[in-house]
Amino acid sequence: MMLSPFVLALAITAPASSESTPYAFETPFLIPVEEGWAGGYYSSPTFYDWDGDGLDDLFIGNQRDTCGGVLKIYRNVGKPGAPKFERLEDFKIAGALPRIPGG
């Protein structure tokens, strides 16, 4: 029987790690945007100054369905060291949303 990722995901509950960590982090937080939180199915974020204003903008790849996903673009309208993001149009090629295969 072939197992799908769904079953495998259900199959394992990991014990918590008690290992001390050499790098410490603040309590994590999410990226607030107008529609709630930035993200998407299988969110894959990256940053680049898309509009050339000196502030890196946020790109989030995702998998919308089995045919692929879209690339969301969030413009950084904040300040250096205090980013704030607003959703722009999704990335398009020749005016159409490209279907980017997951992998």
Partner: protein, 301 residues
């Protein structure tokens, strides 16, 4: 800005940036020999100056291995060399990685996610002498350790999207970026999670479907207590590759258990019914883990 597209079929296409945020038609990446670069079962690529020679290199992550394609002066790439940890491949699925000098010692380090969550740090080591421009060292990676423990899956199925989650989900996608401008790189992690959306006023038929799903889920979870108990105690600190090996073995062991097949088939069926009703959703979030400034107890570079 140029755009690189990699596909599972192995092709890597370059969309060269043009004016007005437009892109030229795609052209394939090539090796120095002129041959088109093709990487079987490709999952993910990174473009970084890995070896410190001032040229961008290509790092490919496949289902089987991680490889470095050193960049040349004319935009092509040398034949690949393996990037391994103590002779073992770096493997993960449904996740991504990022490379940067995280600890400030001049050597690129590697962070990876994994299909069952978490973030893994692979410290880069190597030479940083001034001779690097002439004889660029390729750092090797030390064994990983888990900084953010993987999450438990099952309870999240009943999480509601409106309830603020407090920990990253599965399939962690890693990007390193200085979020708050303090000069320290921070972890930016995208994930995936499932959520059951409870309708406010469900019809009796819908309530029946939800109850049936929860019943199937509970039965499945109860059965899985056995396999879960056999996981090694240090599972949360294992590398993505080691965890993958354990999960694959667990799946193989369970594939011949008829009761497991029956329970999983029933759960899939009930799951499909709720998905058709748009009550079982999958979503992903992006988390920011700000790195705290080093203290005297921090590791020395």
């Amino acid at each position: 800005m140029d755009l690189l597209h990699s596909g599972y079929n192995g092709s890597i296409l370059l969309f060269r940036g043009a004016a007005d945020r437009r892109f030229d038609a795609a052209s394939p990446l090539r090796l120095k020999t002129g041959k088109q670069l093709f990487v079987d079962k490709l999952k993910f690529v990174l473009v970084r100056d890995w070896n410190g020679d001032g040229r961008l290199d290509l790092i490919t992550f496949t289902e089987r291995n991680t490889r470095l394609y050193p960049g040349t002066e004319d935009g092509t790439f040398e034949e690949p060399t393996p990037i391994q940890v103590d002779g073992k491949e770096i493997l993960f699925r449904y996740a991504t990685a990022d490379i940067a000098d995280w600890d400030g010692d001049g050597i690129p380090d590697l962070w990876t996610g994994s299909e069952d969550g978490g973030a893994f740090f692979f410290k880069g080591t190597g030479e940083t002498s001034g001779e690097r421009a002439f004889h660029a060292p390729v750092p090797h990676l030390t064994p990983p350790f888990s900084l953010i423990p993987p999450v438990a899956y099952v309870p999240r199925l009943s999480d509601l999207p409106s309830v603020s989650p407090s920990i990253t989900g599965e399939s962690t996608h890693i990007t390193l970026w200085d979020w708050n401008g303090d000069g320290l790189l921070d972890l930016v992690i995208g994930d995936m999670r499932a959520a059951l959306v409870q309708p406010e006023d469900p019809t009796p038929e819908l309530s029946e479907k939800i109850d049936a799903f929860l019943g199937a889920q509970n039965a499945f979870q109860a059965f899985m207590e056995g396999p879960r108990a056999t996981l090694p105690a240090n599972y949360g600190t294992l590398s993505p590759a080691e965890r993958m090996q354990i999960r694959n073995q667990t799946a193989r062991d369970l594939s011949s258990v008829s009761h497991f097949q029956q329970l999983s088939k029933n759960l899939f069926q009930k799951n499909s019914e709720l998905r058709q009703q748009r009550l079982l959703k999958r979503h992903g979030l992006v988390w920011i883990y700000l790195q705290k400034p080093p203290t005297e107890d921090s590791p020395k570079s």
